[in-house]
């Protein structure tokens, strides 16, 4: 029997601040109001971080077009405790403690540069405001290590950011660079990977409806260990494509070499599309372990082509040999 116990972050609908109140007040004032409100909510474990982190305090609205009722979101606690973020250590338990020992993600500036008409350096909050706020989407998340989650991300479509940047015709790819701060970040003092972490997409992939920049999960500001404050989410690709804590978005003409591809081109490609037919040289990709599955043995399910987004994205790869372009 499966008994559902509500989590401490599961606020009732009635606890939500009316949308009108959000919109009428400037952000700081909104935060203060939310602070008073939170004090009155017994057991609504809101931390100072929920109120003060970069991109906190923006209203988020579930986008019904990206909410498959069949998907059961992975509990918040697991999504934020089981992370691959090699900047903060090699084990999945490392990022949560290591990324929260004084590592600052507020304030945060991102540079949007390259072959575009409107290059800019912009504060993360200003960027969210400029792009018209946040929405929530529930996406499957499939790691190249053959495990998966379902995550309710808050954020904005990458296409909106691209429209703001206004790429020139010669721009064919978009790259995403993570921070480089070996002084404050333990993992970057080791040469496990070639820092800073670097990822890229074809411009048409980046412009796809599903491509998303996350600033939060479960309606709360995205925790440091999940890539605060700006993190790329490309749900039909393996998780490592989703660069975390992005400081630079660069539009370029030639296909970039992403970090994992540079590290081991035999095992990791540029595309990294989820594909049950094309194995990792060391393990099968035909199925995956479901994080937080109920029961000790209930954890394995078949992996879907393009992680279940085949209908939406298959057209992007028509004519491309997916066995070679893995």
């Amino acid at each position: 029997m499966h008994i559902r116990t509500p989590h401490d972050w599961a606020l009732p609908e009635s606890a939500a601040t009316p949308e009108r109140d959000y919109r009428l007040r400037p952000r700081r004032e909104f935060l203060r109001t939310l602070g008073y409100g939170a004090a009155g909510l017994a057991g609504a474990a809101l931390t100072p971080r929920d109120l003060l982190a970069t991109t906190a305090g923006f209203p988020t609205q579930p986008n019904p077009a990206f909410r498959d009722p069949a998907l059961k979101p992975t509990p918040y606690d697991l999504v934020t405790s089981y992370n691959n973020f090699y900047e903060f250590g090699p084990d999945k338990a490392d990022p949560k403690p290591n990324a929260n020992q004084g590592w600052k993600t507020e304030p945060w500036t991102v540079a949007i540069t390259g072959l575009i008409r409107h290059p800019l350096q912009i504060d993360a909050n200003d960027l969210v405001r400029k792009l018209g706020g946040l929405e929530q989407r529930v996406y499957r998340h499939r790691c190249v290590e053959a495990w998966s989650m379902v995550v309710p991300w808050d954020g904005f479509p990458l296409a909106k950011l691209i429209a703001l940047a206004d790429p020139k015709p010669e721009a064919k790819f978009v790259t995403f660079t993570t921070f480089n701060d070996p002084k404050n970040v333990p993992g970057q003092r080791a040469s496990t990977l070639d820092w800073p972490y670097f990822e890229g997409l074809r411009l048409d992939e980046a412009n796809h409806d599903l491509a998303f920049i996350a600033t939060g999960i479960y309606g709360r500001p995205i925790p440091n260990q999940n890539g605060a404050p700006l993190r790329l989410v490309v749900p039909w690709k393996y998780g490592f494509k989703g660069g975390k804590s992005i400081v630079k978005i660069d539009f370029v003409a030639r296909q970039p070499r992403n970090t994992w591809q540079a590290m081991n081109p035999r095992e990791y490609g540029f595309y990294a599309n989820v594909n049950p037919e094309v194995d990792h040289p060391r393990w099968s990709q035909a199925s995956e372990r479901v994080i937080g599955a109920s029961g000790f043995l209930g954890g394995r399910q078949k992996t879907l082509m393009f992680n279940g987004y085949e209908k939406q994205v298959a057209a992007l790869y028509r004519g491309l040999d997916l066995t070679r372009n893995f």
Partner: protein
């Protein structure tokens, strides 16, 4: 040192040192729940058992070089009383690790699980794990006195040198389980490599000197 020697001579102490670490997952599962372990409990157990199998295999292989390097050292003598127990426990943890791997691949159907296992075993990563286990099985089965008598000392010794092959394969298998090279492999197998080099060096230099009767195990 005398106390340590006395403790290490005791079978009860060695059994405790072998069994207790196997129970470790109880801590992050039940006593102090750790969400990163509970995210996929079976995977946590899988990796933990594999880690212990590697660790015990590396440890038991250090006993001989320790004795060669310090023939009069009581600790080395005490440890060498437990070679079979520690060796068989490395196999046992390896077997449990394999059993959990079968459950880990279980997808609700027996055919699907079998197909998935067969697919995984075609990869060097998984195949080396299985070959390691088979070697340890053969060594465990021939660890009885009767087997030594049946095979004869020399053949038995040659057969049991396969333990070194098993250690090398286990080190590869453990490293291949991760996307980036895990330093764990170095601190598990590194000391063994250093001790073996020291032993070879000592035996080489002893061989150049006239008759120095030295029993090597």
């Amino acid at each position: 040192m005398a106390l340590l020697e006395k403790l290490l001579r005791s079978k009860v102490v060695i059994w405790t040192l072998i069994v207790l670490p196997g129970l470790w997952p109880v801590w992050p599962f039940f006593i102090r729940p750790d969400p990163s372990a509970l995210a996929d409990p079976l995977k946590f157990v899988l990796h933990h058992l594999g880690f212990l199998a590697c660790l015990l295999l590396a440890i038991v292989l250090t006993f001989t070089p320790l004795r060669v390097l310090g023939p009069k050292w009581g600790v080395a003598q005490a440890l060498n009383r437990h070679r079979r127990l520690v060796g068989v426990s490395a196999f046992t943890y390896g077997l449990l690790h394999f059993g959990v791997q079968v459950l880990y691949q279980y997808d609700g159907t027996y055919d699907g699980t079998a197909a998935q296992l067969a697919k995984e075993l075609q990869k060097p990563f998984q195949l080396t794990g299985l070959v390691t286990l088979v070697i340890l099985l053969v060594l465990a089965l021939t660890s009885l006195h009767a087997a030594i008598r049946w095979l004869g000392g020399k053949a038995w010794k040659n057969l049991h040198r396969l333990a070194y092959v098993a250690a090398a394969l286990a080190a590869y298998h453990q490293a291949a389980a991760r996307k980036i090279f895990p330093m764990q492999v170095v601190w598990i197998f590194g000391p063994l490599v250093l001790l073996e080099l020291a032993r070879i060096w000592k035996q080489r230099s002893a061989a150049h000197r006239p008759p120095a009767p030295l029993r090597v195990g």
